[in-house]
């Protein structure tokens, strides 16, 4: 082994150890790195009412009810579990039924969610309006909103 090869091997093994350490740290911190929790996770983990968190999913079709002033009610769903959300404030432009959404607020005792901020989440697809219309016409539109609906992993 030449000196260069030895140096290369040393750097390679140091990097491997470092990568393993980073992987362990990131795995351990997973719960605080995730930006939001899908409704199913909130039920499964039996998160206590009164805790502050972000819930993310799709705005369920047909669930949006506008109240007085700027107050709205809607249901966030990950297609398995629904969570009713109430909110008073300005909604982002992209907010609509079927669209991905992340709401931050407090879980209530009656297992609803009181949001004090609502963010829209969009998917990774970009296309002109005509293409979107054509896809819808041909019935090829696969609108899963955003991929905010979490994959089951």
């Amino acid at each position: 082994m030449s000196r260069r090869q030895r140096r290369l091997a040393l750097i390679g093994s140091a990097l491997a150890v470092l990568a393993a350490a980073a992987a362990l740290v990131l795995t351990a911190l997973r719960d605080s790195i995730v930006f939001f929790h899908p409704p199913t996770e909130i039920v499964e983990k039996a998160i206590a009412p009164g805790s502050r968190l972000r819930v993310g999913g799709l705005v369920k079709e047909g669930s949006l009810v506008r109240g007085e002033g700027r107050s709205v009610r809607f249901v966030v769903t990950d297609t398995k579990t629904d969570l009713p959300v109430s909110y008073a404030g300005i909604l982002p432009d992209l907010f609509r039924e079927g669209q991905g959404v992340v709401a931050e607020g407090v879980l209530q005792a009656d297992h609803s969610f009181r949001a004090d901020s609502v963010l829209a989440k969009h998917d990774e697809k970009y296309m002109p309006r005509e293409v979107a219309d054509a896809l819808k016409k041909q019935g090829l539109w696969q609108h899963n909103g955003a991929d905010a609906a979490p994959s089951t992993q």
Partner: protein, 246 residues
Amino acid sequence: MTTMFARLANPTVFLVLTRRLLPALAGLTALLFAAGLYLSFAASPADYQQGDTVRIMYVHVPAAWLSMLIYTLIAISALGTLVWRHPLADVAAKTAAPLGACFTLLCLLTGSIWGRPMWGAWWVWDGRLTSVFVLFLIYLGLIALQRTIEDPGQAARAAAIMAIVGFINIPIIKFSVDWWNTLHQPASVFRLGGPSVDPTMLWPLMVMAAAFLFLFVTLHLASMRNELLRRRIRTIALLNSRTQPA
């Protein structure tokens, strides 16, 4: 192959070659930007849900790609410094760091401007945004470290070690949107199953990406020339001060 590479990487050959190459590269960059800006801001269609706001993508995405590409280049150069002790490797790493920091900042700023109307927030601490912010801090740290240690050889080695350690962050940035729930959407171009960007928008994006890439190559080569000449002057000054004591 190795001998050709070694010849190109000889500092003197590098200086001669880049002096001839730079005007052509600058011209090509200007042409690509002219075409790219026209395609992305005039000729390309608005997005079906984001409208004209989607045009921020044509600056944001190339800046984001470059921020990671430049860091990868710095990490490879760091290997060149530590393993092969090549004189040009540290020159490349040292001059790439400020450029990388600039493109990362551009990515963060345009992303913030894009996030406000679309998501409803200038900034959130999700996996993608946070890891790119960490990349920006690593760039700043590298720049500081390269300039803190006076001895060039020591500075090069210390910065190279930091650059390699910091490289861990690059795959984290790339896969942050797959590993964790984030507000940022997953990859649109470099993804399994091909790009999810319509061709009428993908082409302008690619031309802009090429323009950004050539802008970086031009600036980097010019900056490397300056750094090489600066080091030569330093060496000459050192030799002079030794031969004729004041």
